[in-house]
């Protein structure tokens, strides 16, 4: 090494290297907390594999792209559907080798690289005690002048991006007047989901862009059934979180076992209440009763990776144009 001082510090700080039977999984920050899905997944997988599962938490996609092949991990979990194209183009992933027939997601999924572990629909969530006649369609929401909404910026938020593509799928190049109409009802647009949802629960707006699964948290954890998602006739935009095996995995076998575990009934039975979204490989009748009883949209709207990529720039231009007119 050219930098002996750094090397010395690094040796001291690195401590014990990962042992031979440790599976290292790159994951978003929330996998590191006791209240997220991390601990259950770790305990469940370790009981099967007789190995150690270590989550390395952080911003997943930027780390993948910045570190490239130097990334010291075997698998990745937590990549959103909106991030898959860029992750795929990095060339860092290997085929997962799993049979995907157990998947129950509402869109066709035959991806050889990424496997969804949970999913949801974006939706406008409202408070039953404040709004008694939620819109029944996107067309109605656009027409309504009595409802205030808070959304997220597609440039910085996954949910905001999903809304942008949702409107794009419904209205295409005619979206600018739609955004202009929505802008009239929009209290504000936030950079991230947390700000928007916090403002909504504080009563800043009637509806907030969130997920059809959001009410489940309030029902299960807070015994509060006042929050509900407005279900739209046109259908809702589908989003999922996925996992994949890294090409440079030191433990490729364990990494594939991990993907198999994700599709197991044990994982699928636990993920709904651990991460507050629908299980990806479990028939609806086997879901946690609260999730099973949530109103479910009839139609899934979803742009394929290439389609979404091609529409990003024009859809954003329409969004900017309509929202700032």
């Amino acid at each position: 090494m050219k930098h002996p001082l750094f090397a010395a510090i690094a040796t001291l700080a690195l401590g014990v290297p990962a042992s031979a039977d440790t599976l290292v999984v790159l994951a978003p920050g929330y996998f590191g907390s006791s209240w997220g899905p991390g601990p259950s997944i770790k305990a469940g997988f370790e009981a099967r594999c007789g190995c150690t599962l270590e989550f390395r938490t952080g911003d997943v996609l930027p780390r993948l792209l910045l570190e490239g092949a130097r990334l010291e991990a075997d698998a990745v979990i937590g990549l959103g559907t909106d991030e898959l194209l860029r992750a795929r183009r990095s060339g860092l992933f290997a085929a997962h080798g799993q049979d995907l027939s157990p998947l129950t997601v509402p869109v066709a999924w035959d991806d050889e690289i990424f496997v969804p572990f949970n999913w949801s629909y974006v939706a406008f969530v409202y408070d039953r005690t404040r709004t008694d006649n939620p819109p029944a369609s996107m067309a109605e929401l656009i027409e309504r002048r009595d409802l205030s909404i808070i959304t997220q910026d597609p440039r910085s938020s996954g949910a905001g991006l999903a809304l942008m593509l949702w409107i794009d799928q419904l209205y295409g190049d005619e979206a600018a007047p739609v955004w202009q109409a929505l802008a009239a009802q929009t209290v504000t647009v936030t950079a991230g989901w947390s700000e928007a949802y916090g403002m909504f629960t504080n009563g800043e707006a009637d509806m907030v862009l969130s997920y059809t699964t959001s009410p489940a948290y309030h029902i299960v954890a807070e015994k509060d059934d006042t929050k509900a998602a407005a279900i739209f006739e046109e259908g809702h935009y589908f989003i999922a979180e996925t996992a994949g095996v890294l090409e440079g995995a030191a433990q490729p076998g364990l990494a594939r076992d991990f993907i198999a575990y994700i599709l197991s009934d044990e994982f699928q039975g636990m993920i709904a209440t651990a991460n507050w979204s629908y299980p990806s490989a479990l028939p609806r009748e086997d879901w946690h009763p609260v999730f099973r009883d949530l109103p479910m949209p009839d139609t899934a709207i979803f742009a394929t990776e290439d389609e979404a990529d091609a529409r990003r720039a024009p859809a954003l231009a329409l969004w900017l144009d309509g929202m700032t007119r």
């Binding site: 090494m1 050219k2 930098h3 750094f6 510090i9 690094a10 700080a13 690195l14 790159l26 920050g29 929330y30 590191g32 907390s33 006791s34 209240w35 997220g36 390395r56 952080g58 911003d59 930027p62 780390r63 910045l66 570190e67 130097r70 010291e72 860029r86 910026d153 597609p154 440039r155 910085s156 991006l161 802008a183 929009t186 209290v187 504000t188 647009v189 936030t190 950079a191 991230g192 989901w193 947390s194 700000e195 949802y197 916090g198 403002m199 629960t201 504080n202 009563g203 800043e204 707006a205 959001s214 948290y217 309030h218 954890a221 507050w276 990003r312 954003l316 900017l320 929202m323 700032t324």
Partner: protein, 524 residues
């Protein structure tokens, strides 16, 4: 100049230049690394220039209003003594150190759609106010920065030697004469700096501007940088936009540097200040009204944050408390590093003097214009070939926080140090007092107040910083602001409110301890 003096000067210069080198790496090395890593770039689009325009407009308004409002408030606070004054000054500093998310929610609890103000207006049958828009951005930034401006100016008032007020009283000066002869020169010296600092803080605003601005019309350069990173993954454009941000900063710095006038009055003997120009009942009433209005504006949103959070502090998960401990360590480390670096840099600025000194001073301020996102990514790229960045997440956070807090610390300490050099320098020289002895006996005791304030500010800022640590997935575990955001994304809004309260409490406590330490024995 004798040997001891030369040695002391060389030491000061060496230490200052070492600090300058770190600042160059932090601000420009990181930017260079990002640009280096970029493939082709699309260049700047029309929307980017709209972002530049909006950024400038809101920053100018925010900085101008913050400083203009701070002058009467600081003046009222400077000439009044009342029970709880110290506590009030500490508390009103809190908005500045809050994480943006918490501050915005507190502000909306007062000024938002269902906030106190609109409830009051409803009750009175008056029209409701809509806070979202440019007015909201400026309101939020004034809420953030008014305390900082007030404190910078208050330091200025406290720094006017007692002899001048005595002389003024013996000459029969009224409040108006005092203002023209004593206070105006001080404002001419300090206000441009305060304006610049706040202008630069607002220049890099992103989440607050978007949320309070009501939509994409309120797109700032920092948001455009974020978009280049996350939406387009166009590192070249991100670097280009970061350069634009630096350019704006440099121009603003140059203007402020030319406007600021060094104080031309003589020194004093460090006596406690006794004010004679406190005026009659009318002036007293006016000052009281100003202080009450300022306190309400700053404290009500905080009270709302506290009301919401206090019931949930006791029930916080253990890992939130552990994160709080980790954040305390980072904050204390960052404070120690910042104080050492700032003193070294300030000495070097004065020792070099002239243009070269000004260049160093500007370098110390540069971090204000730096994009945290660019710094985080750039440092990651710089470190990655040498070490694994995640092993140094907390150390890097400390060093970056030090760089980011230095502009404030330097602003506060440099004028004081100049004053010490001007008033005590010749005496110390003639006594042959240099180096550590001089630092201990002459310089530090006279810098206690700005040092304490700067240390408090650094500690509190670094406590609430989310910054670079997010990218450096670290093995040591999360900091308190990270846990706060983590709780929010998991819908645990009550716990998040509790964590926000804990963060607010700890930041204030740190700030109070340092600031108080600096003011003990000094009557201000």
């Amino acid at each position: 100049m004798n040997d001891a003096a030369r040695r002391a000067r060389l030491l000061a210069l060496g230490a200052g230049l070492a600090v300058a080198a770190w600042l160059v790496i932090l601000n420009f090395g990181a930017l260079g690394a990002v640009a280096w890593r970029a493939d082709a770039t699309s260049g700047l689009a029309r929307a980017d220039w709209a972002a530049v325009r909006f950024t400038l407009v809101q920053a100018l308004w925010s900085a101008a209003l913050s400083v203009l409002l701070a002058v009467p408030v600081a003046r009222a606070l400077a000439r009044r003594r009342f029970a709880g004054r110290g506590l009030l000054i500490t508390l009103t500093g809190a908005p500045f150190i809050l994480p943006t998310l918490v501050a915005v929610l507190g502000l909306l609890a007062v000024f938002g759609r269902s906030g106190l103000v609109n409830q009051g207006l409803d009750a009175l049958g008056l029209a409701r106010i809509n806070i979202f828009g440019l007015q909201g951005v400026v309101l939020a930034h004034v809420f953030y920065n008014l305390p900082l401006a007030t404190r910078i100016l208050l330091q200025g008032w406290a720094g006017i030697p007692a002899e001048r007020f005595r002389l003024a009283a013996s000459l029969g000066f009224g409040p108006r004469d005092s203002f023209r002869q004593l206070e105006w020169p001080m404002l001419r010296e300090l206000a441009p700096g305060a304006f610049l600092v706040i202008f630069l803080i607002c220049l890099t605003s992103f989440s607050v501007a978007l949320t309070m601005g009501g939509g994409p019309r309120a797109t700032t350069v920092e948001l455009a940088i974020y978009q280049a990173f996350r939406f387009d993954f166009d590192l070249g454009r991100a670097a280009l936009l970061a350069l634009v941000q630096f350019g704006l900063c440099a121009v603003a710095g140059l203007v402020a540097w030319r406007v600021a006038l060094p104080s031309a009055l003589g020194g004093g003997m460090d006596r406690p200040v006794q004010r004679f120009d406190i005026g009659g009942a009318g002036l007293r009433l006016w000052d009281s009204a100003l202080i009450v209005a300022g306190a309400l504006f700053l404290l009500l949103p905080l009270a709302m944050v506290a009301l919401r959070g206090v019931p949930h502090v006791a029930g916080l998960p253990a890992e939130v408390w552990q994160a709080a401990g980790r954040s305390l360590i980072v904050a204390l480390g960052a404070t120690a590093v910042t104080m050492a670096m700032t003193l070294a840099l300030a000495h070097a600025v004065i020792a070099l003097g002239g243009r070269r000194g000004a260049l160093l001073e500007w370098l110390g301020m540069a971090a204000l214009a730096a994009s945290p996102l660019v710094i985080g990514t750039g440092l990651f790229l710089l470190m990655r070939p040498v070490v694994n960045p995640r092993d140094f997440a907390l150390v890097v956070t400390m060093l970056v926080n030090a760089g980011m807090a230095m502009p404030f610390a330097l602003r506060l300490i440099l004028p004081g140090l100049r004053e010490v050099m001007a008033t005590q320098g010749r005496l110390a020289d003639s006594l042959g007092m240099h180096g550590a002895t001089r630092l201990r006996l002459v310089t530090l005791p006279r810098l206690r107040r700005p040092l304490g304030f700067a240390a408090g500010l650094t500690a509190a800022l670094s406590m609430g910083d989310l910054g670079v640590i997010m990218l450096f997935a670290q093995r040591e575990g999360a900091t308190l602001p990270m846990q706060l955001y983590g709780l929010m994304t998991a819908y645990r809004l009550d716990d998040a409110a509790g964590a926000a309260m804990l963060l607010l409490g700890l930041s204030l406590a740190l700030f109070w301890v340092f600031d108080r330490g600096g003011r003990i024995g000094a009557d201000a």
